[in-house]
């Protein structure tokens, strides 16, 4: 019985493991931290699996548990947003739409997300994953109206990071 339960859990996690990778990438800067967080999320998912009754989507439930772990997880030597500056090269990348620059754009995207705080990271990640406001509100535990307000703030922050105004403009 326990073995069947475990197998069922593993299969469901395998199907939705993209969530795990995305959260680790967004919340951790280096590979070691990502490994730790990934393992911690899997442990907590397994511990909480009994509370998953199937009335919500598995992916929403997984997001909820994984985000809770990521937000609680203490990371070493966390860089403050102010410590990071957008280099001229990065600014150039931001204005380019060339598909050859996809890798650099990925770095830029993660750089921009890293400038946000942990709560904003969770909201933008769910938005980029094409979750509706209703689902974001349910996962985070706030109202849909507040999700809209937050999204506008986050978009504004990202816009400023990705398209910084030149000095004196």
């Amino acid at each position: 019985m326990e073995e069947d339960h475990k197998q069922e859990f593993i299969e469901q996690v395998m199907e939705s493991q993209g969530i795990l990778h995305k959260i680790c990438r967004v919340y951790c800067d280096d590979v070691e931290q990502r490994k730790d967080l990934s393992q911690e999320i899997l442990i907590q998912l397994w511990r909480s699996y009994g509370s998953f009754r199937g009335d919500a989507k598995f992916s929403s439930w997984m997001y909820r548990v994984a985000l809770n772990v990521a937000i609680q997880h203490l990371r070493k030597a966390k860089k403050r947003p102010d410590d990071l500056k957008l280099t001229p090269e990065m600014q150039e990348m931001a204005s380019s739409s060339d598909s050859e620059l996809l890798d650099e754009n990925v770095k830029l995207l993660h750089y921009a997300i890293r400038q946000l705080n942990d709560i904003e990271k969770a909201i933008i990640m769910l938005h980029l994953d094409e979750k509706k406001h209703e689902e974001i509100a349910e996962i985070i535990g706030i109202t849909q109206n507040y999700v809209r307000v937050k999204m506008n703030r986050i978009k504004e922050k990202l816009r400023k990071t990705l398209n910084p105004q030149p000095h004196g403009a």
């Binding site: 911690e40 907590q44 969770a122 535990g141 507040y146």
Partner: protein, 209 residues
């Protein structure tokens, strides 16, 4: 770069990431059999150790008190009995917090509710830790001062009583500050971060100028 472009890049990256870092069944199985390392898990482990230690000392102490009482050492026997009974009581109190944490770790509540709950649990655990430190410090300070003063024949009974009373009044304040500082050093930063997250999730705060 516009936000729509961000979404396209995000979805493309997610696919690439999955291909590059895909976990197999063995990886997942191995991970879930490991021990958790979150702050709340560490608190739970620390509590488990303290509960066992306190319960063990409490039971041994009560047995010792009973033995002293049977040997006719009435005063010291009664004092020991109440001190170790208090220790046992505090262990039971800690066990209640342990159960709170276990129950919390099995839940999969939304982020805001989870943060709120961790803050509540942490505050209760911190308060219990301070209470334990203060209670034990007071009991041992009174006991130690009483036994020390009893050996000094020159001191009058009322003076001995006054000194014990002064120690009983002064000890809680001093140990409250020490315990509070210790707890703040251990969990203060973490608790502050959680409070900031919670503040971030309160709609009313967004409306404030």
């Amino acid at each position: 770069m516009e936000l729509d472009a961000l979404k396209t890049i995000w979805l493309k990256t997610a696919k690439d990431q999955l291909t590059a870092q895909e976990l197999n069944k063995e990886d997942i199985l191995l991970a879930i059999e490991q021990k958790s390392n979150t702050v709340i898990s560490k608190i739970r482990k620390r509590l488990t150790l303290k509960i066992w230690m306190q319960s063990l000392i409490g039971v041994i102490g009560i047995c010792l008190a009973v033995f002293l009482l049977s040997k006719g050492e009435r005063l010291i026997g009664v004092v020991y009995f109440f001190v170790f009974l208090l220790l046992l009581g505090l262990a039971i109190h800690k066990f209640q917090h342990y159960r709170l944490i276990v129950e919390f770790q099995k839940s999969s509540a939304p982020v805001r509710a989870t943060i709120l709950r961790i803050i509540e649990i942490m505050q209760k655990v911190i308060f219990a830790q301070i209470l334990t430190t203060v209670a034990l410090a007071v009991v041992f300070a009174i006991l130690f001062s009483y036994l020390s003063l009893e050996k000094i024949d020159k001191l009058a009974g009322w003076l001995q009583g006054l000194i014990v009373l002064a120690i009983a009044i002064g000890t809680p304040g001093i140990f409250y500050l020490i315990a509070k500082r210790g707890q703040h050093k251990m969990f203060g930063k973490y608790l502050q971060t959680l409070r900031e997250y919670l503040h971030e999730l309160e709609f009313e705060n967004e409306l404030k100028p």
